[in-house]
């Protein structure tokens, strides 16, 4: 466990401290929040994709469920933000539970079915027939609980908890058993690893992270539409960031977010279509030439990365 402690001291702690003091140095809080959000989401995706090999293409479905869980608790039930956060997280986990049967599918089938599930949740939430509950396609406004500073700090706290969980996965027996399942489920089962339980726990952990992040997102921006909360681009970003840095590591997704999301924010907003082109080319090149991410430049040479 000494390695785990080192990861916490040299990776988790600096990231959390920087995230916490960043608003004092830089005024664009929404941008900083987006970074924190993607740092968290990429790690949440890492828990399921990196460690078990299941790619949840519709990861944003859980995120959106968290956001709408928060919004509905505030709008309809009139709950205070922290209770609503718990409901949002619970909504994410519930959706995750509902989707656990999908883990029976392998490979691309899981990814596609997961995407279809996310689309289905989006279509239910945005359906005008449910306007009384979800406000349908017209979006929600949570101005009564709007608290950008506090919600940013909560976002950093969620990031900290997520990073700790990932540091544990990276260095624990459980995380190792998950990777064994990813490499070869049959051999892992024969070695005594509880395959189904391991996958389910990883997926639910991932869903909890996404649900909680979605809830904090809803609180922070407080006015949003179904297509914002269920934007498939969120799934894609989280996946590409994770893959770019290197899945199944602690710093891989961090690197991915800092580099790629940084690039996105410098050029992506002014010329979106050219950015989309560059982004697509980057993804293709990445898969072909560096399928294990940036960190594989080090791990290939036998250097261990956190």
């Amino acid at each position: 466990m000494r390695r785990g402690l080192r990861d916490v001291l040299f990776v988790v702690l600096p990231v959390v401290i920087i995230a916490a003091v960043a608003p004092l140095l830089y005024a664009n809080e929404l941008l900083l929040f987006s970074f924190v959000m993607y740092l968290t989401l990429a790690q949440g995706l890492n828990a399921i994709y990196g460690f078990t090999g299941y790619l949840p293409f519709g990861y944003v479905g859980v995120f959106g469920a968290g956001a709408y869980g928060f919004a509905i608790s505030v709008m309809i039930l009139g709950l205070p933000p922290f209770a609503a956060l718990a409901i949002g997280a619970a909504a994410g986990v519930m959706l995750g539970l509902l989707l656990t049967p999908l883990l029976r599918l392998s490979g691309a089938y899981f990814a596609i079915a997961n995407l279809a599930a996310a689309q289905a949740v989006y279509q239910v939430v945005s359906n005008p027939a449910l306007q009384d509950i979800t406000k349908g396609p017209y979006g929600v406004s949570l101005s009564e609980v709007f608290a950008p500073r506090l919600s940013y700090e909560v976002g950093v706290a969620v990031l900290a908890a997520t990073l700790l969980a990932m540091a544990w996965l990276r260095n624990s027996r459980f995380g190792l058993s998950l990777q064994a399942i990813r490499e070869d489920p049959i051999s892992a089962a024969m070695a005594g690893v509880a395959v189904v339980r391991g996958r389910t726990i990883a997926w639910l952990l991932s869903a909890l992270i996404a649900g909680l992040t979605g809830a904090v997102f809803a609180w922070h921006i407080s006015v949003f539409y179904p297509e914002t909360a269920f934007d498939i681009g969120i799934s894609i970003f989280a996946t590409v960031f994770t893959l770019f840095g290197g899945a199944a590591t602690l710093i891989g997704p961090l690197l991915g977010v800092l580099v790629l999301y940084g690039v996105y924010n410098t050029i992506g907003i002014t010329v979106p279509q050219y950015f989309q082109l560059i982004y697509g080319a980057l993804i293709v090149g990445l898969v072909l030439f560096l399928p294990d991410g940036l960190v594989s430049l080090l791990t290939r040479r036998g250097i261990r990365v956190p």
């Binding site: 090999g53 790619l55 293409f57 049967p101 999908l102 029976r104 599918l105 392998s106 490979g107 691309a108 089938y109 990814a111 596609i112 079915a113 995407l115 279809a116 599930a117 689309q119 289905a120 279509q123 239910v124 359906n127 005008p128 027939a129 498939i232 894609i236 996946t239 590409v240 893959l243 279509q273 050219y274 989309q276 082109l277 982004y279 697509g280 080319a281 980057l282 993804i283 293709v284 990445l286 898969v287 072909l288 399928p291």
Partner: protein, 291 residues
């Protein structure tokens, strides 16, 4: 009303068979997911607009051109991308991401080149007035597109079951390792199947303006889900399964639109999940398809 919904569903189903056919061929043979399938369909539609706008080319001729050109484009694209992908550790999963990247590139280039306005071709190009079938009136363009789809299915069927190359293709579908061990030139077989897959997507695109109304550069991902629902409901690698999947998809879509229209767009997603969970081999499947 029920008869009309069922009949138009059938016609739509044949069209969606064509939409899924190319994806099915690529997935069945190479075990990779061409997530850019819907975008090749979109490119087919734009080629049709272009050929129609400049030369008033009949869509049937455009379809023939598109089939040839897209298949020829598919061959170098295959050699550029797929062999490297198949050699990777987890090619099925990585293919999703890689073709997503390609999809983004195609969408971006098309938006830059043509703008994001909706395009359509007037339906009367394919003949005016409705066609009467069993006392129900259907647009001629729908029936025409369905006829082209059936012809394409028949061609794929003949290719797979009556030609030598088709036999080799089926051998690769059953087991890639054993096919290679018996001396089959894997990459030649796969490259042709990949090219044909793109060609079929292109043909489906030529008729998309008539069946789907209008087309924008961003239509790809939506098409992919529908195509996936169709081929999963049917069975992988089996063109007849895709027909069945298309019919199930088309008829249930039309029934939903007739009786429960506000929820109709949920259908492809729910159908996909339900079939995957209840019968992961598809309706015609015998073997369990686990990786």
């Amino acid at each position: 009303m029920l008869l009309h919904a069922a009949l138009s569903g059938l016609v739509f189903g044949f069209y969606f068979t064509l939409v899924g056919l190319g994806l099915n061929l690529v997935f069945g043979v190479m075990r990779i997911v061409n997530l850019a399938h819907g975008d090749f369909l979109m490119l087919g539609a734009y080629s049709a607009f272009w050929l129609f706008g400049l030369y008033h080319l009949h869509p049937l001729l455009s379809a023939a051109c598109v089939l040839v050109v897209f298949t020829l484009v598919g061959l170098p694209l295959y050699y550029l991308v797929v062999p490297r992908l198949l050699a990777a550790r987890d090619s099925e999963m990585l293919s999703l991401i890689l073709f997503f990247g390609l999809q983004q590139m195609i969408e971006a280039v098309t938006s830059i080149a043509f703008g994001t306005t909706e395009r359509s071709i007037p339906g009367r190009v394919l003949g005016s007035g409705p066609v009467r079938l069993l006392g129900q009136a259907l647009p001629t363009s729908w029936v025409f597109s369905a006829g082209v789809s059936l012809a394409a299915v028949a061609l794929v069927y003949v290719y797979l079951y009556q030609t030598r190359l088709g036999m080799l293709t089926r051998a690769v579908m059953v087991s890639r390792e054993e096919a290679v061990a018996t001396g089959i030139d894997l990459h030649r077989v796969c490259a042709i199947a990949f090219g044909l897959g793109l060609g079929l997507a292109g043909i489906a695109g030529v008729f998309a303006p008539f069946m789907l109304g209008s087309v924008t550069p961003a239509i790809g991902p939506e098409i992919n889900i529908a195509a996936f629902a169709v081929i999963v409901v049917g069975t992988l690698g089996n063109p007849l399964g895709t027909v069945l999947g298309g019919i199930v998809y088309g008829v249930s879509l039309m029934l939903m639109q007739t009786y429960l229209s506000s929820w109709a767009n949920l259908l492809p997603n729910l159908l996909l999940i339900a079939v995957l969970l209840v019968r992961p081999t598809g309706l015609l499947g015998r073997r369990v398809r686990r990786a």
